[in-house]
Symmetry: C2
Subunit: 207 residues, 2 copies
């Protein structure tokens, strides 16, 4: 047991090291460019080492998605939204901070948006990845719904709670998804997109 | 000249035949699965024939995107929206028909949504494809803007014209993009998504 413990830790670290290499490729050149050879080269390990930890590309992608959701999204995103708020807790402040953090604004956030889009496109043809992504979508909607319900409870808008609030949260989440993509592609300026979201928030929860 | 004309027609037909094979792969297994070998096999031509018409995968993808936008989207989508309307021309009818056609409802429309998502993800790491996609995004927003302006002119809502109408169109387009994706992934039922859009239309243009 004493010998087995550190080995287990090493294995997990090695797996993370490999999928972080995969994510760097996905965020710069897309999942198209992900191959055994490219991942091994990016991770600076042998192809045999990659194959030792992941039997198939699908298995490696599933592990990479889980790792990315845990670290970059759940932990990183939440911390960055909190940093934007710096103590403010009003529902409208939280909604604005969530939107501002979701729309790409620098290289790391563009990287995350590209990785998200790469996994999304892959999930459309891969049921296992789709199943792994569903909780992330549901979690984002649940967060928005809770904040919108707070806005409704505070009497600052007409559409914050109940069934209407739930629909409002899904509409806002999907609007943010779509705007994130057009900002990423350069169809729309980030500041324009953010102004569009603020106008929508004025409409649904008031100022 | 008399001999050259039919040869030119053959070349264009052959190129379309090849990229239609590529699109079948993209719509079922994603752009990841697109390779010289797979496209040649799907098109039932030699790999040399594919290489004769397309020097690189990027060139083939660019041609495939253009062909798909021309046929499946501009022509096909417009015709299917018109069929849904069957003569009705009210702005609200048109908006509902556009939304109903945009959210996947059968195998061909799910296929189109998967192809769109595959090209979108690729465009996030390929500037030439991004440039080719921008007019499609802009065209969809312009269509929605024109219909929303009609709704505003008819006095049926508060946000149909001018700068507000323009923002409303982009918001609606992005909301539809995001909803299309969650419907495609099975996160949300299509009928639920459509009901969410109808509620939003009630809010922005009235009944």
């Amino acid at each position: 047991m004493i010998k087995a413990m550190p080995r287990q830790v090493d294995h997990d670290e090695r797996r993370r090291h490999i999928v972080e290499a995969l994510l760097r490729i996905a965020g710069t050149r897309g999942l198209d460019a992900v191959s055994l050879r490219e991942v091994a080269q990016q991770a600076e390990v042998s192809m045999g080492a990659v194959q030792h930890y992941f039997a198939t590309k699908d298995e490696m992608l599933a592990y990479a998605l889980k790792h990315w959701l845990d670290l970059s999204i759940h932990a990183g995103f939440t911390a960055r939204v909190a940093a934007r708020l710096s103590g403010r807790t009003g529902p409208r402040d939280v909604l604005s901070a969530l939107a501002a953090e979701y729309l790409p604004y620098d290289d790391p956030s563009r990287f995350d948006a590209r990785v998200a889009l790469a996994f999304l496109a892959r999930a459309a043809v891969d049921e296992a990845l789709a199943a792994a992504l569903v909780p992330a979508f549901a979690g984002f909607v649940a967060t928005l719904r809770a904040v919108l319900a707070g806005a409704g409870a505070a009497g600052s808008g007409a559409a914050g709670s109940g069934a209407a609030g739930s629909g409002e949260a899904q509409r806002l989440a999907s609007m943010l998804d779509g705007l994130r993509q057009v900002v990423l592609l350069g169809v729309l300026d980030r500041d324009e997109a953010l102004a569009l979201v603020e106008d929508h928030l004025n409409l649904i929860v008031g100022h």
